[in-house]
Amino acid sequence: MTSDMTVKTQFRHVGSRPVRPDGLDKVTGRARYGADMNLQGQLYGHIIRSPHAHARIKSIDFSEALKVPGVLATMSGADLPEPGEALIPGAEIEMKLKNVSPVIMARDKVLYHSHAVAAVAATSPRIAAEAAKLVKVEYEVLPAVLDMHAALAEDAPLLHDDNFTVGIDPPPEKPSNVSVQIEMAKGDLEAGFAAADVVIERTVNVPMCHQAYIEPHACVAKADEKGRIDIWCTTQGPFVVRLLVAEITGIPQKDIKVTASEIGGGFGGKTTVYIEPVAAVLAKKSGRPVKIVMSREEVFRASGPVSDSETRVKIGAKKDGTITAIDSDMIMNTGAYSASAMFAGVLFGTAPYTAENIRSKGREVLTNLPRVWAYRAPGAPQALTAVECVVSELAAAIGMDPIEFRLKNAVQEGDVPLYGMPFSAVGLKECLQAAKDHPNYQAALGENQGRGVACAFWINAGMQSSASIHVTPDGGISVMTGSPDIGGSRASMALMAAEVLGVPVETVHPAVVDTDSIGFCDGTGGSRTTLATGGAVIQAAEKLVEELRRRAAAAWSVSIDDVAWLDGKAVERCGVGIDELIEGTSPVKDGAKVLTLAEIALTAGATGGPLTAVASLHAHNSAPSFAVNVCDVEVDPETGKVDVLRFTCAQDAGKAIHPAYVEGQMQGGAVQGIGWALNEEYLFNADGVLDNAGFLDYRIPVASDLPMIDTVIVEVPNPLHPYGVRGVGEVSICPPMPAVVSAVNNAAGTLLYDLPMSPPKLLAAIDAG
């Protein structure tokens, strides 16, 4: 796609709010999720996990477990190929197999409590669980480092004695617990701060949290006599599962088929594997299908939680509101293996602002905690929270309205952020204006109440997608992709296909199909599905229209150029221009021949065979999103309890294909951010054991915690996309944390930047005056 393409602005279907095609199955309970699949003769896998945060595995003895009637297979890390130093070829992000494989099954050492060590498969979940208790694992316990500062200490125990920090020149000779460090800069920092009238520096802590999808990881794997593996699982990316299972187990990708179930939430957390390689190996060894369902406790303890971070941010501004310099230094926890999104935090934390003098540093730190994984705009919420809290304080310090302050410094088309790619048309200023104009921003505040504002950025991904379309003999449209539908994307696929084909959206049946049935698709992540997979659907639909015109032209013995496609019908032009027909400026000529899609479909067998179209692409046309939140809270000064009174999100969607699901992304992201700001955190005891591994004490927001979440969809079209689409799923979680923090500090008269702002911490800050 080229930059001078025309972006469509008039739509028949896009922008409407039809009932989602998969909705009926979901409200009636028929939809099948990961754990809803059972196969004849299946076994149940149970994973044995480390009771220690750091230990050497001396031996694993399965003999007692194997004596239990009903136990049919066991496995350990020894059943997986040695990962070596190789990068995983074709992975979405650069990853070494040695940082992925041992998360599935530890090798030599366990590096966090509940690290997977071994597994058994048995004829019932109860027998598997009982047999697991009989597996004897001998450990040599090692000292553990349970937080970043302990890990950074000069004499800290090392997780990996072969870890030499990447990003230092010359390379270090001593191993450490810093896996990678980076520094990005532009302009002259010192001069920038010298030019400032006010400089504020704060250290902001964001806690380790979890994506807390409601559906635990679940899968069933079976192996046939030829060794071909068939996996059903809940995932954001069946092709990701295929790749990772292949790399981790050594089974070639061509011998693996993955079918994605309906997915019960992921938010980034289901863009990797935990149990699928285990089920595959156990299925191969036992010759029986193997089902594994993680318990909620296992999900919290041993999937991929979200990095905690400590960020020191110093920002200078002139009295007129111009930001002159930003200096940011972040440490981000990656847990036991390098996997954090520290780079994104370093690169994107300052993206909303035009400041000329910026330095941004980051270090990724290894600790004896679970290996972290992606969560909605990975890395950005932590970095933006730090920057936005200081920006809000600066605005107050110079006596400027926080939105005006941001408007004065907001980026627009042509500006170049720290990461170096100039912005095309972006909607930050429009979002700030929308927030400013919203009644929320004008409303009066009472005693103990406060308001916070924050803006945020996310880059959004493009990547690879495929789509195929088939027409049934009676004119129905099947649209297939390989992108699991996590938030309503089938509805947007149907709308985009209907838009191109000119057919009612109800006649379009979108489906997510298995990895054998569609070309490669990267995972549903990076806010890329509507843009990239949707782009493939649009291209496939356009190809289908061309084929439909060709069939009509053949039927009428005219040139394809003489056939227009109008409202789901082939129409003979009779000399009228196609644009005039499409735009309705010239009517269809009397007597012009017409064939409906259904008529062409019915005779397709006689005119060239079935009607199908396929498109695959690598999307390079994604564009960033900005969002602005306004949050009002009330603080109980005697208990430190925070009530969110009112919350408004403005976000640039480019073009909202299905506005209700765009609003849903905004509202859902807002509430996840509210939870992270106020109550969600991982609490480990002194032995590195997670103390709140359940929904009782890992406190995600409940319905009664919240007000309605107002939304304003801003539409500044992405100039690179035919419909103007931008990703919408991720940026929504970036502004709520700093908006909440500023609101609470404004209400309570505190400067608390140690999240979450849980009542004991906030009350202590209030009492400290």
Partner: protein
């Protein structure tokens, strides 16, 4: 290791007589899903904290993960599969669809069962009553906004408004 002798339990399930065998320690959600193949009842935690396994047990809204299947002897169970079906959806189901009040949908069956129970008990709940009634039904996707609107709108429909 002992095999456990199963208990024979007689219930009414979604209005029809239903008998099943269960282990003494087996929870009702497990039997519904894995013995009776009614997988509309979801398990998000099996500790009563998420509400995805909500069912009606006689007149009580309960988490079926916090009920032993053996306790259901002589009782009536209603699951999401008994609430409504194509062409005859319950207003709660209709309105959840109309308001786009689901994203991933894993919490939806529990919300359907719980919201129906609310509206049967309180035909005209306030927003606050609706929010507190559904506080035990965790949803991580939607931020609850559209769910609350949908349930209140379903109430209005049922009241004939």
């Amino acid at each position: 290791m002992t095999t456990q002798k199963k208990l024979h339990i007689s219930t009414t399930l979604n209005g029809e007589p239903c008998e099943f065998l269960c282990e003494p320690g087996q929870i009702l959600s497990d039997v519904l899903r894995n013995t009776l193949n009614l997988t509309g009842t979801k398990e998000g935690c099996t500790t009563g904290d998420c509400g995805a396994c909500s069912v009606m047990l006689d007149d009580a809204l309960v988490c079926s993960c916090l009920v032993l299947a053996a306790e259901a002897e002589g009782k009536s169970i209603e699951t999401v599969e008994g609430v409504g079906h194509e062409g005859q959806l319950h207003p709660v189901q209709e309105k959840l669809l109309e308001h786009a009040a689901l994203q991933c949908g894993i919490c939806t069956p529990g919300i359907v069962v719980a919201a129906k129970a609310l509206l049967e008990k309180n035909p005209d709940p306030s927003e606050e009553e609706t929010r507190y009634w559904l506080a035990g039904n965790l949803c991580r996707c939607t931020g609850y906004d559209k769910i609350i609107r949908a349930v209140m709108d379903a109430g209005a429909t049922m009241r004939g408004e």
